[in-house]
Symmetry: C2
DNA sequence: CGGCGAACGATTGTCGACAGTTGACAAACG
DNA sequence: CGTTTGTCAACTGTCGACAATCGTTCGCCG
């Protein structure tokens, strides 16, 4: 059999719980479902035209990913994001990507650096034409590529979890007004340091890069902290 | 109302899926359930006297923790551990605990160092009386304490996942014959470096400590690599 | 005798219904 | 009027049954 559509076949035959989890995950990280919002099983199930069983299993997946929170007999809500959560997300992300970066540099394959440079150039092009959405997407791609190049599946799994929630955080902030070009420019010295095999410099730059965006986000977060309850 | 039994109440009322997950998790990390072993839903359910629904949800939890692997329409098996898995486990563990260590040292609370020293002394005492089981348990406690002291809940969650699988790896190796006292002694310089606030040294020692045990384990793993199928 | 295809058994995926728990509101008591 | 207790509705937890899928085996044909 040809390989044609082998991926698509799997998509069609994929268990309902996974497709539902994907849909809900996307809705959460894009901010369509807001933190604190209650997800009632029966309501969502009939709305999606499915039974509660696969929906509950999808909830569990999202719960393990930290996107929702389930309290016994009390229901499931989209997890609220506190300032502490955000600080933890970005600090752990920094540690994880530092680890990935070290592995990539120590392997020292020029093809890896080339791949990252290509990412950077795509990002730059998107920035030049003012496409903020594309810049953000390619920014994610850049970091994902770094993780993949580290060839560490366990790390990739953990990073995926963290990245999802970072995406959620960014989606919840109403259209950041940061200098779009600056985002792209920030990645250049990192790419160069990797190309030169300068581990110490690359690590320093990456940590500064992540920490600065993290601080920026955390600072803006005081807006949606304490909401009055009923 | 008095606080009587508030903890017990929760334990008794905990959802079945969690109690089942706990039981299966324990069975897996202690090696009672062996890698590759198939877990048939109907069989286990009737054996435990429960329905398949909560069992399936327990499977999902374990799947997210990396302890089992579920293939659609093919069933759930205890995840097999390859040498690559072990290398990834220990290298990630090293990176995560390094991160925790840095946070603890940078906070610089003497009470933290004292707590770790107490762990070390307990471990030493257990080693002196030749109690290997206790030494292993306190060793886990030492590392868990380090994580908790970093006050980083997200990190704690990820570390917990990794630690579980490390426990499984250690349980699967037939009674390591390492020098029991050496395990305890290895922790002393780390504690001292923390007490002195010497971050660079502490990190170096911790990484060497984890890497060495990881290498030791990985080396012994060639025994159970390729088993013939059927 | 070997290769191919269709039925079979075993197992998982999904569903609808029932049982148990929680929080809130209302009624009774001091 | 404040506190306690009874009741209820909404929701989650659990169950048993039916549908879909996979690997295998058996039979058929070349």
């Amino acid at each position: 059999m040809a390989e044609v559509g082998s991926a698509l076949q799997h998509i069609n035959n994929r268990p309902l719980r996974e497709r539902v989890a994907d849909m809900l995950r996307e809705a959460i990280v894009t901010g369509e479902l807001k933190p604190g919002q209650q997800l009632v099983e029966m309501e969502l199930a009939s709305q999606l035209g499915i039974s509660r069983a696969p929906l509950r299993e999808a909830f569990q997946t999202l719960s393990q990913e930290g996107l929702v929170e389930t309290l016994p007999y009390r229901g499931t809500i989209v997890r609220k994001l506190t300032r502490t959560d955000i600080e933890e997300l970005y600090s752990l992300r920094s540690a994880l990507e530092t680890f990935a970066l070290q592995r990539v540099i120590r392997r020292g394959d020029p093809a890896d650096a080339a791949k990252l440079r290509r990412c950077y150039e795509d990002m730059l092009a998107a920035a030049e034409r003012g496409d903020l959405k594309a810049v953000n997407q390619i920014d994610r791609e850049f970091h994902n590529t770094l993780i993949e190049l580290s060839r560490h599946e366990l790390l990739a799994m953990v990073c995926n979890m963290v990245s999802l929630r970072v995406r959620q955080v960014m989606a919840l902030l109403n259209e950041r007004n940061t200098d779009i070009r600056q985002i792209a420019y920030n990645h250049l010295p990192i790419v160069q340091a990797i190309e030169n095999g300068n581990e110490a410099l690359a690590v320093e730059l990456l940590q500064r890069h992540i920490a600065s965006s993290g601080d920026l986000i955390a600072e803006d977060w005081k807006s949606s902290e304490e909401e009055p309850d009923s």
